[in-house]
């Protein structure tokens, strides 16, 4: 159970010369559930691209699976989902988009077909497979994009806001897929509300592009002033109970809060 | 105080044959604060375009201010903000974008300059006026787009998700501008959390594109099963207190809920 991603001193500048990420060093162990949170424009997305090996950072290296620093060698083990689902759907049908990764990464055809069928079924895409992707609604596109990354069964998922436009029913399904995923999950999101449902560990990227905090979910999400200093609002339940309950008792999710309330209120 | 918008039997089909909105009839009175909520893909955005006179609907008419059915006659009285700020900022500098509406709609130069200065100041854009819009961050773009609609001082605001990428500080400012607006405000949003802070009345657009409910905020937002049936989640505070408190006691906003909790918990 070694590190699957070992990033050292990553820094990156945008083409206009401003710094996107600044000297970030972090290690993600196999099987971990990590959430990277940060306000809009904090460099969170650049960090995702860097960890996914999709940009050459100005400085620093990322080692994957303790074996290589070249993401190309391990593309089939990294599932990177950028924020805009439209970017993942460029083929003529949804089916081709779902097949694209497996075909490119050399997955046997039969295995790919089975996986695609199962995922399409889970994500309510079965009836849409022969449609042109640009005809889908926002939520459908989002589900198709999530599926297009899961089809080749990567070990590590690096997902930017996979729930954006998804409606409630499929929200639960995608959360389940993330929870059931046997490898490592790294979620990038600007909204801390989702985090406790998925992650155990939180990395907070500040607005100057450095990693300002890294620790257990409760420790970071109950620290309202830390979050506000970096342009984020605490989860709604924390906003509610902050100062009313102790930090170690504050419920982090709606269901925890409900449990607490129904116990206390009667 | 007559109706500012009187829409009768609006239906619209996209060229590919899908129905976006279906037989929607609604009246918005002067000075009302209305939220139109609906899941992604519900036709909420099409309804906004139809009410704003930006598409020719397949059937139905919209009468404005009891005087005309041609939105072009009353452009200077309608402030329509679409969802993506990049669609609003098409000039070479932010200043030109803010001037665009007033100039096109014949507002005197001096009056426009004063309004622009005030709005830019409120929304933290003063230092950005000579910048190229594509160099702004997501939050800055959103604020500039909001400003570009307010500069010509329309009577009716039709705003689609004006708070998207805006950070906390300016979130409050924009909410204030909406509350302080002397005319009518119609907010289109997929997230009911924001609604109680702005609106008194809620119109719920269902996934088949028809208006399935129209009533006071509390009545609709506390009806969890109605919302879920149409792909929406109730506001977080409603999720928390639903079944624990009576519908008429459930707090709708975080600050209400905090008040309630701090009273009850000690």
């Amino acid at each position: 159970m070694g590190p699957v991603i070992d990033a050292r001193q990553l820094s990156h500048e945008y083409p206009d010369g401003t710094t996107a990420i600044r000297n970030i060093t972090l290690t993600i162990e196999e099987g971990e559930r990590v959430a990277v949170i940060g306000a809009n424009g904090s460099g969170k997305s650049t960090l995702q691209l860097a960890l996914g090996g999709l940009i050459d950072t100005s400085t620093g290296t990322v080692e994957y699976f303790e074996e290589t620093t070249d993401a190309e060698d391990v593309r089939d083990r990294l599932g990177v989902l950028l924020q805009d689902p439209d970017d993942y759907l460029f083929n003529t049908t949804v089916r081709e988009d779902l097949e694209y990764g497996p075909a490119q990464l050399g997955m046997p055809r039969q295995a790919a077909a089975r996986r695609i069928e199962r995922l399409a079924d889970r994500l309510g895409l079965s009836g849409l497979l022969d449609r042109a992707p640009f005809r889908l609604s926002g939520g459908e596109k989002q589900r198709a994009a999530v599926a297009s990354v899961l089809t080749f069964d990567p070990d590590v998922l690096l997902l930017d806001e996979p729930l954006g436009a998804v409606d409630d029913r499929y929200r639960e399904r995608i959360l389940e897929l993330m929870t059931a995923h046997e490898g490592t999950v790294v979620l990038f999101t600007p909204s801390p509300d989702l985090v406790p449902e998925v992650a155990d560990r939180v990395i907070l990227v500040g607005q100057n592009g450095s990693a300002v905090a890294d620790g257990p979910v409760r420790e970071i999400l109950t620290d309202g002033s830390l979050l506000r200093d970096h342009g984020l609002r605490p989860p709604t339940t924390v906003q509610l109970f902050d100062g009313i309950l102790d930090a170690d008792e504050v419920p982090l999710t709606v269901s925890e809060a409900r449990k607490y309330l129904s116990r206390e209120m009667r | 105080m007559g109706p500012v918008i009187d829409a009768r039997q609006l239906s619209h089909e996209y060229p590919d044959g899908t129905t976006a909105i279906r037989n929607i009839t609604l009246t918005i009175e002067e000075g009302e604060r209305v939220a139109v909520i609906g899941a992604n893909g519900s036709g909420k955005s099409t309804l906004q375009l139809a009410l704003g006179g930006l598409i020719d609907t397949s059937t139905g008419t919209v009468e404005y201010f009891e005087e005309t059915t041609d939105a072009e006659d009353v452009r200077d009285r309608l402030g329509v903000l679409l969802q993506d700020p990049d669609d609003y900022l098409f000039n070479t500098t932010v200043r030109e974008d803010l001037e665009y509406g007033p100039a096109q709609l014949g507002m005197p130069r001096q009056a426009a300059a004063r309004r622009i200065e005030r709005l830019a100041d409120r929304l933290g854009l003063s230092g950005l006026l000579d910048r190229a819009p594509f160099r702004l961050s997501g939050g800055e773009k959103q604020r500039a787009a909001v400003a570009s609609v307010l500069t010509f001082d329309p009577d009716v605001l039709l705003l689609d998700e004006p708070l998207g990428a805006v950070d906390d500080r300016y979130r409050e400012r924009i909410l204030e501008l909406m509350t302080a607006h002397e005319g009518t405000v119609v907010l289109f949003t997929p997230s009911p959390d924001l609604v109680p802070e702005v609106a008194d009345r809620v119109i719920l657009v269902g996934q088949n594109g028809s208006a399935v409910a129209d009533g006071p905020v509390r009545e609709i937002l506390t009806d969890g099963s109605l919302l879920r049936d149409h792909g929406l989640r109730p506001p977080t505070t409603v999720q928390l207190f639903d079944g624990i408190l009576d519908a008429d006691e459930v707090p709708l906003t975080v600050s209400e809920a905090r008040k309630y909790l701090s009273r009850e918990m000690r």
Binding site: T92, A132, F134 | P15, F90
Partner: protein, 218 residues
């Protein structure tokens, strides 16, 4: 493909300016008739799309890459007058923002890439689309780039600043682009095929003759 300053004589450069000025002037007037003052700016959005698409690397055998020029495609998608305007914006920005070509030579570059490439591409496509649509797009992309290379070859060859003889410059430009143009033709056909397949309503002259279908929203 951009001619830098120094290759053309002032007289030739001036003639290119006059020719492209006239063509662009006509295009402006016709675009106004077609779109009205208010919708013309939107053409810029499509022009920006074509410009950005030029950044894509198309792989060619041997491990190198080729780029899309897009003049013929602009003519096919938008028609002659809007196509000329779109490519005028592209070539002007390439010169004044990216420093491609030259200031005095801008007239020549506009003439080759925003006028000849667009108009010839459009004319070939119109003439041949009855035979085979994608084939017509291919010939249009190939023929248009070759003819605009001919224009460049003529201009440079007639200039005393450039010491080679007219015959040599013209034959080198034309022969070279007859070969290179095959790639432009293939790209034009590929992109046309994709767009026409996905949005048949968009493409010029498929439904109503000669004018943009209302769905383009321009």
């Amino acid at each position: 493909m951009h001619i830098p300053d120094g290759f053309l004589d002032p007289l030739i450069a001036g003639l290119f300016w006059v020719a492209s000025g006239v063509a662009i002037g006509i295009a402006v007037r016709r675009a106004r008739d077609k779109l009205g003052d208010e919708r013309t700016p939107l053409l810029g959005v499509v022009a920006a799309g074509i410009f950005a698409a030029q950044m894509l690397n198309w792989p060619i055998p041997g491990g190198t890459s080729a780029h899309f020029v897009g003049g013929a495609f602009a003519g096919i998608l938008l028609g002659p007058s809007l196509g000329v305007l779109a490519m005028t914006a592209v070539v002007t920005i390439q010169a004044l923002v990216f420093g491609d070509g030259g200031i005095i030579a801008l007239g020549g570059n506009l003439f080759a890439m925003a006028v000849v490439d667009v108009l010839v591409g459009y004319a070939i496509f119109r003439a041949l689309r009855g035979v085979h649509e994608t084939g017509a797009a291919f010939v249009a992309g190939w023929g248009a780039i070759t003819v605009s290379a001919l224009a460049v070859g003529l201009g440079v060859g007639l200039s005393s600043a450039f010491a080679y003889e007219l015959g040599l410059t013209v034959s080198i430009m034309v022969v070279g682009h007859t070969v290179l143009g095959l790639i432009e033709g293939a790209i034009t056909a590929a992109v046309y095929g994709f767009v026409a397949n996905a949005r048949p309503d968009l493409v010029l002259g498929r439904f109503d003759d000669d004018s943009l279908s209302p769905e383009v929203g321009l």
